[in-house]
């Protein structure tokens, strides 16, 4: 099973019906994403990137086509089983962080574990370990409103990591951040990827896409290009070149 691709889609399509008109947000997407890959998805607004990410994240169901994830035909899973897959195997990072307001960083990171049936001690321990991994151990009891945007996104990444997922899906994770903070986030994602986690991220910036190994371009719901990144950027190296102290 492990030599098989982590994600495989065949003729994947998603249509939205709005009254009489039909929006074909995604059509005929056939892709394979292997274990340990780092993929950037690019494309103009409305080209179906988020729609594709929602399908990869098992949050949505396609109107046609096949989707295999970790050797399982996703169409055969019921909603509860999909929830289990999301909980155990997928971590989400959003453009707008989506942290619970007035809730401490550590509680935010711990939240997915409430649905994993772990003992409270284990939950706490894991959450604080993940916070430490993104460099926020000393901010564990800060609320989101007391953290910078970059710090909030790092909390969100810690939350995505808390169940050791196979796949991290990040839809424009640097969209709300300045360049330097964006690179910090990319450094964390690169490090995760180096440890074996598959990462798929959506971005509008080609500079950000260079941190990935592979770039898939969407247009009008279809894959238009699928290329290896020739000169891959190293976020950690870039950070040390930035003026001022490192992250």
């Amino acid at each position: 099973m492990s030599d098989e691709a982590l994600i495989r889609t065949r003729n994947l399509a998603r249509e939205y019906h709005m009254g009489d008109s039909v929006v074909r947000a995604l059509r005929n997407v056939s892709l394979e994403i292997g274990r340990g890959e780092f993929v950037a998805i690019m494309g103009p607004s409305g080209s179906g990137k988020s729609t594709f990410m929602n399908l990869l994240g098992c949050l949505d169901r396609p109107t046609a086509g096949e989707h295999w994830f970790d050797g399982v035909d996703v169409a055969t899973l019921d909603t509860d089983q999909l929830a289990r897959v999301r909980n155990a195997k997928i971590g989400f990072v959003f453009q707008s962080f989506n942290l619970l307001p007035r809730t401490s960083a550590i509680d935010n990171v711990e939240m997915p574990l409430l649905y994993s049936g772990l003992a409270p001690d284990t939950r706490r321990q894991r959450a604080s370990e993940r916070l430490a991994r993104v460099g926020l151990a000393e901010r564990a009891h800060h609320h989101p409103s007391q953290l910078s945007g970059g710090q909030q996104q790092r909390v969100a990444i810690a939350r995505a990591l808390v169940n050791d997922p196979l796949l991290i899906l990040a839809d424009e994770p640097t969209g709300a951040l300045d360049t330097r903070t964006g690179v910090e986030i990319m450094a964390i994602l690169q490090e995760l990827n180096a440890r074996g986690t598959t990462v798929v991220l959506v971005t509008h910036e080609s500079d950000i896409a260079r941190f990935a190994r592979r770039v898939i371009a969407f247009r009008d719901g279809e894959v238009r290009a699928d290329d290896r990144v020739a000169e891959r950027h190293d976020a950690a190296a870039q950070l040390s070149a930035f003026p001022g102290e490192a992250a």
């Binding site: 929602n54 994240g57 949050l59 949505d60 909603t79 509860d80 929830a83 289990r84 999301r86 909980n87 155990a88 989400f92 959003f94 989506n98 619970l100 007035r102 809730t103 509680d107 939240m111 997915p112 409430l114 649905y115 994993s116 049936g117 939350r159 169940n163």
Partner: protein
Amino acid sequence: MNVLANLLVALRALRINVLRSALTMLGIIIGVGAVITMVAVGSGAQDRVSAQIRSLGANLIIVFNASSRDGRARLGAGTTYNLTEEDAEALTLIDGVVLTAPTVRGGAQVVNGADNWWTAIQGVTTDFMAARDWELVAGRAITEEDIRAGAKVVVLGETVAKAVFVNSDPVGSMVRIKNVPFDVVGVLAKKGQNSFGQDQDDVALVPLSTARKRVIGANLQTRPTGVAQILVKLQDGADAKVVEEQVTSSLRQRHNIQPGAEDDFNVRNLSEIMEAREASQRVLSYLLAAVASVSLLVGGIGIMNIMLVSVTERTREIGLRMAVGARRRDILLQFLVEAVTLSLIGGIVGIGIGILASALIANLAGWPTLIEPLSLVLAFGFSGAVGVFFGFYPARKAAQLDPIVALRYE
């Protein structure tokens, strides 16, 4: 996700919005508080009446002399002595009657040196105390010999004993009644007020024969064995209505009253009268409790309203929770637990306020209140049910959100 983790999530959510949570609970608090208070007032009234029935003597029928037609004028009740000791004796033969106690009554001053007290002097037989379920706290009761001999002995009610024996022991002392010296042989146990507010302990018991000779006089000369009233004590479980009818027919026969003519006596079942009064009081307070429970309903609607607002406000949170692995039933449970927690905390605070209000009513207004544990358990359970009932719709609404739409909600 287990219920405990759910409870944790719910409590965190409620703590984040303390003021709103408190305001949401207000309806339940007021509703439960009002119901508890009303039921406590109702139970208190009921309890007091049963205590009064007990103090009167359980299962007691009282036969009085009726005012009789004397020419054209109708005289006041009890001015003639139609009832006699023989009547009392005859009534003991009726099925369901345990004993009867004929009494006479008159007012007199009880004097002990400088202390004196105007009280009701009751001439009684030995069965009187059994009829009234009355005990002694000191000394002895009036005996057959006392009655036969017309002994000048008296058993004092608690109020009289306190009034004329301020510092000394009454039993063994002497008092003067109508200038006749009486030996105090006993003191009655305290009975308190009857349901008409009279002090039942403001009384002195003397032998029936002595009372006739020394205390009351005039009217009895025409009827040497006449009595003012006859207490008829019924067996436990005897049908008071049936016995009343038999008492009436027996007395009519003994008094030679023609069919169609009025009775020259009245039969009263006091416990029945009090039970009827108590029932109407109880109905009234339960009616008020029912009105109060409407505010519980309003409280429930308040919870539903706030939960709906909360679901809308937290749409993104719901989407996020679903994205990270919450199943629909986890979301349902989370919001349901939140609603039930609100209503249960409201219920507990309401119970506290109800207990407090009952105590205040008892102290300030002087109404008796009684809080029964069962009413507290019911109130608690009911407020929980309100939470489930009114929390279900908002919780289901939350659980049915589409995670993608919810995540994008602004």
